[in-house]
């Protein structure tokens, strides 16, 4: 089977990976081109014991880590790169690769190990390191709007476990607005039905009028958010919640939230 027939279906994905890994499409394409040329010249070959897709990423990896990974310079603050890309680039190259190969490209840890020329245990370690770096990068101050003390304590424990700081727990709309006036949080976790009959949705609308902050609603009444006008940008989690679901939503909300916008609005 020709190289073209074997590799063409995988080129869009290796370009995506290269873009995510290098933070820039033209840089990414450069390394894809060098990898393809090395294959065409016979300097590199597709490993027989790998699927064509894994083998292609493996060759790309060999090219990039001997050149690109070592040339990498920190991004300037004014380089016009979006914040998600900036956060990606702060992850150390090898753990960034393990993270992107599994979470973005959908490779199994075993396939990622083949691509990286690593063993399974190293890939596990790299994934854990990537998570530690992401957690450190995203650590922020959190406002919890929740009127049930037991649930508030659960949420607080979970948020603290992720490395964040809970700045306040508000039980009513007024308390929430006051709390934000004292200290602008980097994330709001909000219940909808509050102690004095006030609404978490209204509290969040008040907050979003003044500050650009990601919000996650945790509620037993999701239909209120789905039917009413839903303030953006928000996430919705239904009670009773799985702690992992809340943690995943927090990471997602923070990773993609533009930092500059919140500074300007503050």
């Amino acid at each position: 089977m020709s190289l073209l027939a074997r590799l063409a279906p995988h080129l869009p994905y290796v370009r995506r990976y290269a873009r995510a890994l290098t933070g820039d499409q033209s840089t990414g394409d450069h390394y894809v081109r060098v990898a393809l040329e090395a294959l065409a010249a016979g300097e590199r070959t597709l490993a027989d014991n790998m699927t064509p897709r894994v083998a292609l990423y493996h060759v790309f990896h060999a090219i990039w880590c001997t050149s690109g990974a070592q040339l990498e310079a920190p991004l300037d603050d004014d380089s016009g790169v979006d914040d998600a890309t900036r956060r990606l680039m702060r992850i150390a190259p090898r753990s960034r690769q393990a993270f992107l190969l599994t979470a973005l490209e959908g490779f199994t840890p075993t396939e990622a190990a083949q691509i990286l020329g690593a063993d399974f245990a190293e890939v596990e370690k790299l994934i854990a390191e990537a998570q530690a770096e992401i957690d450190a990068e995203l650590a922020t101050e959190v406002l919890i709007i929740e009127d049930e003390p037991v649930i508030a304590a659960d949420i607080e424990a979970l948020v603290t476990e992720l490395g964040h700081t809970v700045v306040d727990i508000a039980a009513t709309r007024t308390e929430a607005v006051d709390a934000v006036a004292r200290k602008t949080p980097g994330l709001v976790l909000a219940d909808i039905q509050l102690a004095d009959g006030s609404s978490g949705i209204d509290a969040v609308k008040d907050i979003l009028q003044r500050y650009d902050v990601p919000v996650i609603f945790i509620t037993a009444f999701p239909e209120r958010l789905l039917t009413g006008e839903r303030p953006e940008p928000t996430f919705l989690i239904t009670k009773p919640f799985q702690p992992e679901t809340v943690k995943a939503a927090i990471g997602q909300a923070l990773f993609f939230h533009p930092r500059k916008a919140s500074k300007q609005a503050a």
Binding site: S2, L3, L4, L7, A8, L11, P12, Y13, R15, R16, R19, A20, Q25, D29, V32, R33, L36, E37, L39, A40, A41, A84, L88, F99, L100, T102, A103, L104, G106, E124, I127, A128, A130, Q131, I134, E244, K247, A248, A249, G251, Q252, F255, F256
Partner: protein, 62 residues
């Protein structure tokens, strides 16, 4: 007696890893949306040309 069950430390580490992977997948889903256009646009013709030329050369040899 051979201990078949993983040690508590090992189980804890493996649970932490599962959780990390779940959280990374939540970010991965959004990254895929972000890079949708890269996947959907045409691959640069130059890339296909490199492979085509290599195929022609190897056919010429055989």
């Amino acid at each position: 007696m051979i201990e078949q069950r993983p040690s508590p430390e090992r189980r804890k580490a493996s649970a932490a890893l599962d959780e990390a992977r779940l959280r990374q997948q939540a970010i991965g889903v959004r990254l895929r949306q972000m890079f949708d256009e890269v996947v959907n646009e045409d691959v640069p013709e130059e890339f296909l040309e490199i492979l085509r030329r290599a195929d022609e050369r190897s056919q010429g040899k055989s």
